[in-house]
């Protein structure tokens, strides 16, 4: 019993968008989130922990991408995570 197609994204664009968001944008979001956390909470604990949590959080974002029904919503979510993290990094480095 393959999955019921009724519930899957129908357009090629939607599917490509989801794959891109799940693979690349989630990765960037996870990495930038960890960098921002390292700057704000201190390196001592965050850096050793990030060694494994980067991948777990990345997969967490992947799940979110597929859980959210509309692709543009997941893009907004991920891009805002990246934006907040980048602002955090810039502020933290100042």
């Amino acid at each position: 019993m393959p999955a019921n197609k009724k519930y899957l994204l129908k357009t090629r664009l939607g599917r490509t968008s989801n794959i891109t968001a799940a693979l690349f944008v989630s990765m960037i979001a996870s990495i930038s989130l960890h960098l921002a956390l390292a700057l704000w909470l201190g390196f001592t604990y965050v850096i050793p922990t990030s060694i494994y949590t980067i991948f777990i959080v990345w997969v967490g974002f992947m799940l979110l991408v597929y859980w959210i029904k509309k692709p543009w919503k997941s893009w907004i979510l991920l891009l805002s995570v990246i934006l907040v993290s980048v602002v955090g990094i810039v502020l933290g480095k100042m």
Partner: protein, 574 residues
């Protein structure tokens, strides 16, 4: 509404689980199957080169090593380098060093620049292989080509035979694997308990695969999660290092490392040459003596700011700790005074300095003996079953009228998948055999054997593609691997004379261990291959039963017609 939402989530995650699983299946199978053998990396290498198990750490003359580097023309002032005794065949002392960093003097004259160009070789980083008995330099390049079977299988398990990209590919496979695990659990969540106790052997082939897939998937879940995360880490280390290094440490790699491995933090140079230096050999002996009576497995030296007033010597020891997880200890001495700068005693592990170590120990199964590795091996095989049964579910679900048009394609894909996965087992057994057959002094011996191995494997895939019979592909792979596994000890005995009854009393524990393991592995797979029966689909069974019933009906009809005809004939006669 909520019901529709759950249905939608179920289908979406089911689809992602299927797609991500199918995409990585073959690669992941190779990772786990070759990795299962690679757990016994050292043992296989010992077996390969007929070496005795190492008795213990043997101290080398570090002062002489330093002298050799100096005489080779390298500038030592301010240098950072590591010295490590590498157990290879033959063993060597490995020295590697980073280039010496020099602040660029902008006011320097052109003449001085010329000199610095001449000296740039002396300042460069290096890699040296030094012979532990004659202290001669034997090699200057790290040789990525292996000459030992254990290392070969270890490289195969992260596709190192594909230059540069192999390890990234393995990392990607791992991250997809993590995704597939989590989505698998989500899909399975609502029936996680009841399905665990369900095993329908006779319902249909798909049910058989599904029940095996879910039950063994749940049993192996912690193990698989560990490997998915640690595999991603090893494959995609670059994703952690490059961004952190660039953003947080302004490109300073050493500072970054000092947060992950605190034993390796560096101090600033004093920029004053050291007049009198402590003897490195004495300091190492002092460090090792602390653990007298304990078995020290290896010692790694890291020297920083050499010949500077702030020169430091970090002695990292791997001590056999009984009934403890961690086995590392390190002491850092000042080379000027010989005093202890910092120390991490055995078992004295904090969270921050042991994350990488913990992951390493878990991934390589290095916190127990042979028994732990045997359990790891079994769990890895279980994971292989989960991967293959996933592929079989995918195929079975598509073995119906709805997918009639794609049937040839699906069968071909299935045959090739099975050929690659199942063919790896006889191919590895084959490699073990030819290791003991190929003549020792042959030119390019190991490279040729590697090619023969890949050819054999490819040959099996071709065979699978031609016969396209899943049952036979499995059965023949197990049979081949079984026969070759059984003869591994014989070939080893003929080549080295280390028959199992000789190797064990003489202390060749690994020769014995690998031989005996292959004997039992071969026996089990041979018995399995001889006793498996072809799986018959439920539909086929029903069809056959129907045919039987129909035939019976027809026969009875014919039989009932005969007397009727006879009656009618007789009646018409009258």
């Amino acid at each position: 509404m909520e019901d529709k939402g759950t249905k939608r989530n179920y289908n979406v995650f089911f689809n992602t689980h299927t797609v991500s699983g199918i995409v990585i299946s073959v690669g992941l199978f190779v990772c786990f199957f070759a990795g299962a053998f690679a757990l016994f990396l050292d043992n296989i290498n010992h077996w390969d080169s007929n070496q005795k198990n190492k008795v213990g750490y043997a101290q080398i003359d570090y002062e002489r090593v330093i002298q050799v580097i100096k005489e080779d023309g390298y500038e030592m002032q301010g240098r950072q380098f590591g010295i490590f005794f590498r157990e290879d065949n033959p063993p060597y002392i490995q020295v590697n060093s980073q280039p010496i960093k020099i602040e660029k003097d902008t006011t320097a004259s052109k003449e001085a620049e010329k000199i610095s160009e001449k000296d740039s070789l002396a300042l460069a980083g290096f890699f040296l292989k030094i012979d532990p008995t004659s202290y001669q330099i034997k090699g200057r390049k790290f040789d990525p080509h292996t000459r030992q079977l254990g290392t070969f299988l270890y490289h195969l398990h992260y596709f190192n035979q594909i230059p540069t990209f192999g390890i990234y590919l393995a990392g990607l496979v791992s991250i997809f694997f993590l995704f597939a695990i989590v989505t698998g659990v989500i899909v399975h969540w609502r029936k996680i308990v009841s399905n665990f106790f369900t095993f329908r052997l006779k319902a249909s082939i798909k049910n058989l695969w599904t029940d095996g897939h879910t039950a063994l998937g749940i049993i192996g879940l912690p193990f698989q999660f560990l490997y998915a995360v640690s595999g991603s880490l090893y494959g995609l280390t670059i994703l952690i290092f490059i961004p952190s290094m660039m953003v947080l440490f302004d490109g300073d790699q050493e500072e970054m490392i000092s947060y992950i491995a605190p034993g390796f933090d560096t101090v600033e140079m004093a920029n004053k040459p050291l007049e009198e230096r402590q003897n490195v050999n004495h300091l190492v002996t002092k460090a090792v003596q602390q653990y007298e009576g304990k078995h020290i497995k290896s010692v790694f030296l890291n020297l920083t700011n050499f010949d500077d007033e702030n020169a430091q010597l970090n002695v990292n020891m791997d001590v056999e700790a009984d009934k403890a997880f961690y086995s590392n200890a390190n002491i850092k001495y000042s080379l000027a005074s010989g005093e202890v700068v910092s120390e991490q005693k055995l078992g004295d592990n904090t969270y921050t300095n042991s994350v990488i170590l913990t992951i390493h120990k878990l991934h390589f199964g290095q916190y127990g003996g042979y028994f732990l590795k045997a359990i790891y091996f079994l769990l890895a095989l279980i994971t292989c079953f989960v991967i293959l049964s996933g592929v079989m579910i995918w195929l079975e679900a598509r073995d119906n009228k709805k997918y009639e048009t794609k049937k040839t394609f699906n069968t071909n894909v299935g045959a090739v998948y099975l050929g690659i996965c199942m063919g790896l087992f006889p191919a590895i057994a084959f490699f073990f055999c030819i290791t003991k057959i190929f003549p020792q002094g042959m030119e390019g011996r190991f490279g040729t054997m590697g090619s023969v191995f890949f050819t054999f494997w490819f040959g099996y895939v071709l065979y699978a593609y031609i016969i396209k019979d899943f049952h036979k592909i499995n059965k023949h792979a197990l049979m081949l691997a079984g026969v070759m596994g059984l003869v591994v000890p014989i070939f080893n005995g003929m080549q080295s004379g280390l028959w199992p009854w000789i190797s064990l009393p003489r202390g060749y524990v690994d020769s014995f261990f690998i031989d005996i393991s292959w004997f039992f592995l071969g026996l089990v797979s041979l018995i399995t291959s001889l006793s498996v029966q072809r799986l018959v689909t439920h539909r086929k069974k029903q069809k056959e039963q129907k045919n039987l019933v129909l035939m019976n009906d027809e026969e009875s009809e014919i039989a009932s017609e005969i007397p009727a005809m006879a009656i009618s004939n007789s009646s018409s006669n009258h």
